[in-house]
Symmetry: C2
Subunit: 162 residues, 2 copies
DNA sequence: CTGACTGCAAAATGTTTGCAGATTC
DNA sequence: GAATCTGCAAACATTTTGCAGTCAG
């Protein structure tokens, strides 16, 4: 697991693509244009996307692709650790780029739904530590904090969106 | 958010129940036998349960309840922070007791699916720190590490279960 | 050329909802 | 007694699957 590497954002996509091509070849899988398109679309974005958002974005961009292929590709990308999955408490799963990206956690506001992304070196250190202490070899991680963001941290109870 | 309180396990269920009754009353909601049954079933268990497992367990115990009510009750319990939700990368959401329970993270093995639960004080400290630094008022959190447990941390690639 | 991949549409899940009748307060 | 809750079944949304045709290697 990349516990907080830093790289030039521009290069990341290319590196991820290379990594993808290599991994695919090693496993006897094929690099179709659809798969590359999904990879690029995810790395073009700086937030979580769900499968359908991806599908729509690609369509709008003129890439003919089916939902089935989007889902299948996301699976593949997950396996190669090029994207990560996150459950932000909404009804669909979110995906985001994972390669060359500093690990981060999500602070999800139960009132307005806003999502803050925070990176922290010490968090990464602790996690790595905990893993080696437990003989666990981490490949990815996902961390969500649910609560109230600065605009909503009054004494009032949440709107129960959770 | 309870960042690591410790309490006699036996008492926790009772305390959670009291908390639930109080919260419900405050919000003009009712304490039906079904809701209490769900609460107790969750607190009786020491692991994550999904909605259907809960439904089945209750059925087996002779509690007549419908899936709809299980789901609705889980929602309620979530809102009162008496259970927490976790996405362990399986297809269904898991729930576990949250009241009087030390915060913990999940290490999910991509090969065998086993889930290790780890508590760590320093993790809680860091998270609290990060929250206050960002003006975020945490109510709950969920942290999953995906990778390989001690039995599967060879050089071989994961079986791609993710 | 061959096996892997795509798209489609249909199926499978997991979860939510509307409504009539039961229940709690 | 009134409003809330339950259960049922139908509706939903998301994700998965089977299959025939397509395409990368």
């Amino acid at each position: 697991m990349n516990m907080g590497k830093k790289e030039k954002p521009a290069k990341i996509t290319r590196l991820a693509e290379t990594q993808f091509r290599t991994g695919m070849k090693e496993h006897g899988l094929r690099c179709t244009s659809e798969r590359i398109a999904v990879l690029q679309e995810i790395y073009r974005s700086d937030t979580h996307l769900d499968a359908d958002e991806l599908f729509v974005k690609l369509k709008n961009r003129g890439v003919g692709i089916s939902r089935a292929t989007v889902y299948h590709t996301l699976d593949l990308l997950l396996k190669f650790h090029l994207v990560s999955r996150t459950d932000l408490g909404h009804k669909h799963t979110h995906y985001e780029k994972a390669y060359g990206v500093e690990n981060h956690l999500h602070m999800v506001c139960n009132d307005c739904g806003k999502v803050l992304e925070i990176s922290d070196r010490s968090l990464s250190d602790i996690l790595e530590n905990l893993c080696s202490k437990n003989g666990f070899e981490p490949e990815s991680f996902t961390l969500q904090l649910f609560g109230k963001c600065s605009g909503h941290s009054s004494g009032e109870p949440s709107k129960y969106k959770n």
